[in-house]
């Protein structure tokens, strides 16, 4: 087990370009000590803005630092949604499929849920219009808040590193 993988491997990991055997070995082994930092660096290099990534939040979404104690959820296109502990879906563009016809646009016949029981909610980024998330829930179900990161605990107790700030990033 390497204590640290070369950057190319981590880039392939982020891009899902690893052979299964390589990926399997990585998953089975002890976790490399600097994995989080390396993944974050790869992601940071790929976005066009300068706010430091604090954690990756979901596909295309990150929690970034605006100041020492203010973090927001931001899309890789640059659109900023909300504070890190709020539900970004409230600020997203939402398409709801709750009729037979709308289901048939994306499902084969008789292969989709019944619209009276289940609706599909598609969340898009208002900035780049990328489909960010899909949920399949009963009509009337509240918008699900997936994840409320505890940044202080993660940095302070888990990885024992200072939380990135706009100042440390530019330094």
């Amino acid at each position: 087990m390497p204590e640290s993988y070369p950057r190319e491997i981590i880039e392939d990991l982020v891009d899902d370009n690893l052979e299964w055997s390589e990926l399997h070995n990585m998953m089975s082994d002890f976790k490399d000590a600097d994995r989080f930092k390396k993944v974050r660096d790869v992601l940071q290099d790929r976005v066009d803005w300068d706010d430091p990534i604090v954690i990756p939040y979901a596909d295309h979404l990150y929690v970034v630092a605006k100041s020492e104690d203010r973090w927001v959820i931001k899309c890789d296109c640059g659109h900023e949604f909300c504070e890190h502990d709020e539900n970004w879906k409230h600020d997203a563009l939402i398409n709801v499929r709750d009729t037979e016809q709308e289901y048939l646009e994306i499902y084969p016949e008789d292969m989709h849920p019944h619209p009276d029981y289940m609706e599909l909610r598609e969340y898009f980024c208002p900035g780049c219009k990328t489909l960010l998330e899909v949920t399949n829930v009963m009509p009337g179900y509240p918008i699900i808040h997936e994840f409320e990161p505890d940044i202080e605990t993660f940095y302070g107790d888990w990885i024992d590193e200072p939380i990135p700030t706009p100042d440390t990033q530019s330094a």
Binding site: H24, M27, S28, K31
Partner: protein
């Protein structure tokens, strides 16, 4: 190369030859009529394995000053095993192209597999975590699998007649022939109950093949593996075509090279059901597995000869710890073993295996600051102490070397250069410093962790099956076994702990002891309803089972006929899997009778089942009022072979002879260095007794007797290890 003694002038009469052609090296193990052995190695030659085999045999015979032409004419037993077959499965690469015809709608059987196939063969943690599960690559690509519309139900009734759809067969075969396949495997649902659709398909396919003048053969699942469950059945049939058949040619060449050098013995191959079979046998795929079961066969022979009925067999090699149970001088059979991440439908001697051996890597888990072992290992590369290899991670053997248990000068008879300094340095850097411990403390910790783990695994295998260790003798073998025996048997309460002096060669010894055995199994669903009188039952169920046994008997006879072995030499055994009606699991019963078409005989079989059920579960669990079902019938045909002799010598005094004492050196036991006597394992005399701490060094193994333990050598050169009270 290593041999069990060093005096080449003594005359040796090589009787037993076992060959193991691995991926890189071909190992040869020769045993003479006195039970002395010699081992040889040569590079495996995949294009013609017989060349590597002859070279390896020469290497082995060299230390006896013999050549193959002198030795081969005296051979009485030659058993070959190779990994080429298994490699084809593991690599999913074969010289032959195989096509499949299957029941229409079932074409994706291989691709979908079963849930279990997504984690079989993985380490414990990888089996536990869903993110590491992945379905293995199917053996046959989808474009070489064609469906045929037909259907037989679970009782053998025809639901969709094949005759309406014979064009499907023609189309499918034509398509497969266009793709140039060498073999066509046919697997229809429930063909183990009723095979006429498969048989008819073979006729039609062969017509097409003949019309096109192609050189393709057709194999039927009902002829090879007529057992329940279509995935393992198809996997096994395809493995037969894909991996086993290509090896037949290699085996023929090995036989020819034995003949060329004056050998008059038929080469046999170790098969998963615990016997050896001819290289021309029908079902060659059972020889895919060979390694660890050799030890079980050896143990059973050993037990029969010396009067030990119940044995727990333990084998530590470089990569794994294998455990098996023998009760009443018979092993248990696993009917659906896995290989190369595929579930197969073969009878295999049941063994449990964990990935811990003497070559297991030792690492400190950075998250928990805890020592962890394996699952990867350096295997035969030993460890960092073996300076000629490129192993970089500390192994268990490195710890033994550091603690002074293993003599660096005497590893594998001195054939492998070992450096104690390198081992200590690596342990310090990779383990001890990280945990803030001393080198020796850390090394001893590693051994304790391993032995505790082995002890837990062993306990789980014995008590998990409902047995008490006190009813068993624990037999320890394998190159790494005797180093750890005291550690992993401690506190388990075995009746006795036995270590044969030839522990390192025990698996090969077992291969040599394997009888000729053919075994055929057939899934059945024969009900014996509770309300029936014995007369009625014998006329219905009894007749039916008798007929199945007769058919299987015929198959076994045909196989023996290929080796010119007559029926008078063959001992037949009859088995069933039986259950109470409506149960899910069956138990394996060896029938006391060979026919059950009379009320008396059927009653005997049922009584045996009741007794077996009582023993495995309890008297209270018996439920004969439900009636019985026979879910499988099996026939085993066994013919004796000349077996390697178990030495018998006269007992001498308890004091070891002077020349058995080699030296004394410091070794680390429970945190202190103690001056420890070192003996030559092979120079001790029967009757000798030794108290620990002592190290007994053999050519290919080291036997450790820790403080507070005693060992005594019996007249068969078997050590009995006991703990001082």
């Amino acid at each position: 190369m290593a041999s069990s003694e060093d005096n080449p002038s003594e005359h040796h009469n090589a009787e037993t030859l076992s060959i193991d052609a691995g991926g890189t090296l071909t190992d040869t193990f020769l045993m003479d009529s006195n039970g002395e052995f010699t081992v040889g190695k040569a590079k495996t030659t995949p294009d013609d394995e017989s060349r590597g085999f002859i070279k390896s045999s020469r290497d082995a015979l060299d230390s006896w000053d013999l050549d193959v032409d002198d030795a081969f004419p005296n051979l009485v037993s030659t058993v070959y095993s190779g990994t080429a077959m298994l490699n084809r499965l593991v690599e999913r690469e074969s010289e032959v192209d195989v096509g499949v015809l299957t029941t229409g709608g079932m074409e994706d059987t291989l691709r979908m597999g079963r849930g279990r196939q997504s984690y079989t063969g993985f380490s414990y943690s990888d089996r536990l975590h869903v993110n590491t599960h992945k379905h293995p690559e199917p053996l046959i690509p989808r474009n070489r699998i064609r469906g045929v519309r037909e259907r037989i139900d679970v009782k053998g009734n025809e639901l969709i007649p094949l005759e309406e759809y014979e064009d499907d067969i023609r189309e499918g075969v034509n398509d497969l022939l266009d793709q140039g396949v060498d073999e066509i495997a046919v697997m229809f649902l429930h063909s183990y109950q009723e095979d006429r659709h498969e048989q008819r398909t073979k006729e039609v396919a062969e017509e097409v093949i003949e019309e096109r003048d192609a050189d393709t053969t057709v194999m039927l699942s009902s002829e090879y593996y007529p057992t329940l469950k279509e995935l393992p059945r198809l996997n096994t049939l395809v493995a037969e075509a894909f991996a086993a058949e290509p090896s037949r040619q290699q085996l023929t060449r090995v036989q020819e090279s034995v003949d060329d050098h004056g050998g008059e013995v038929g080469v046999r191959v170790m098969a998963s059901h615990g016997g050896t079979i001819d290289i021309y046998a029908n079902e060659l795929a059972r020889t895919l597995i060979s390694g660890p079961i050799g030890g079980m066969i050896g143990a059973n022979y050993f037990g029969k000869e010396l009067g030990y009925e119940n044995l727990v067999c333990t084998d530590i090699g470089g990569t794994s710890f294998d455990m098996g149970i023998i009760i009443d001088n018979d092993w248990k059979i696993d009917y659906s073993p896995e290989m190369a991440r595929l579930l197969l439908s073969l009878p295999m001697v049941n063994m449990d295996s964990v990935g811990s051996g003497t070559g297991s890597y030792v690492r400190v888990n950075p998250t928990f600051d805890k020592i962890e072992l394996g699952p990867e290992s350096a295997g035969d590369q030993v460890g960092v102490c073996a300076t000629e290899t490129d192993v970089e991670t500390v192994t268990v053997t490195d710890c033994h070397v550091a603690l002074g248990w293993i003599d660096p000068e005497n590893f594998l008879g001195g054939d492998m250069p070992i450096s104690r300094e390198v081992a200590e340095e690596a342990i310090k850097e990779q383990v001890a410093d990280k945990l803030d411990m001393g080198v020796y403390e850390a090394a001893e910790g590693v051994i304790k962790i391993l032995e505790n783990k082995l002890q837990n695994d062993l306990e789980a295998v014995v008590t998990g099956e409902g047995y008490a260790p006190s009813n068993f003798k624990c037999l320890s073998y394998g190159g790494g076994g005797p180093v750890h025996t005291a550690g992993y048997t401690e506190n388990l309460g075995f009746d006795e702990v036995l270590i044969p002096e030839w522990a390192a060669g025990f698996s090969a010894f077992g291969c040599g002891a394997a009888d000729y055995e053919y075994r055929y199994d057939q899934t059945t669903s024969i009900d014996i309803d509770a309300g029936l009188s014995m007369e009625e039952a014998a006329k219905t169920a009894g007749e039916e089972l008798t007929q199945v046994w007769k058919n299987l008997e015929g198959k076994v006879e045909d196989e023996f006929a290929k080796s010119d072995i007559g029926l008078d030499e063959v001992e037949f055994q009859y088995n069933i899997l039986g259950q109470y009606q409506g149960q899910l699991n069956s138990i394996d019963i060896r029938s006391p009778v060979d026919r059950v078409d009379t009320p008396e005989k059927l009653e005997e079989l049922i009584d045996t089942f009741e007794e077996g059920y009582r023993r495995q579960y309890s008297e209270e669990a018996r439920s004969p009022e439900l009636g019985h079902t026979i879910t499988q019938a099996s026939v085993r045909g066994v013919r004796d072979v000349v077996k390697p002799e178990i030495p018998t010598e006269g007992l001498q005094g308890s004091e070891p002879p002077e020349d058995a004492y080699k030296e004394s050196r410091e070794a680390y036991w429970d945190g202190v260095w103690i001056e420890t006597d070192v003996y030559d394992l092979h120079a001790l005399n029967p009757g000798n007794e030794l108290s620990g701490p002592a190290v007994l060094e053999g050519e290919a193994t080291t036997y450790i007797v820790p403080p507070d333990y005693e060992t005594s050598l019996d007249e068969h050169r078997v050590h009995h290890l006991t703990r001082e009270e």
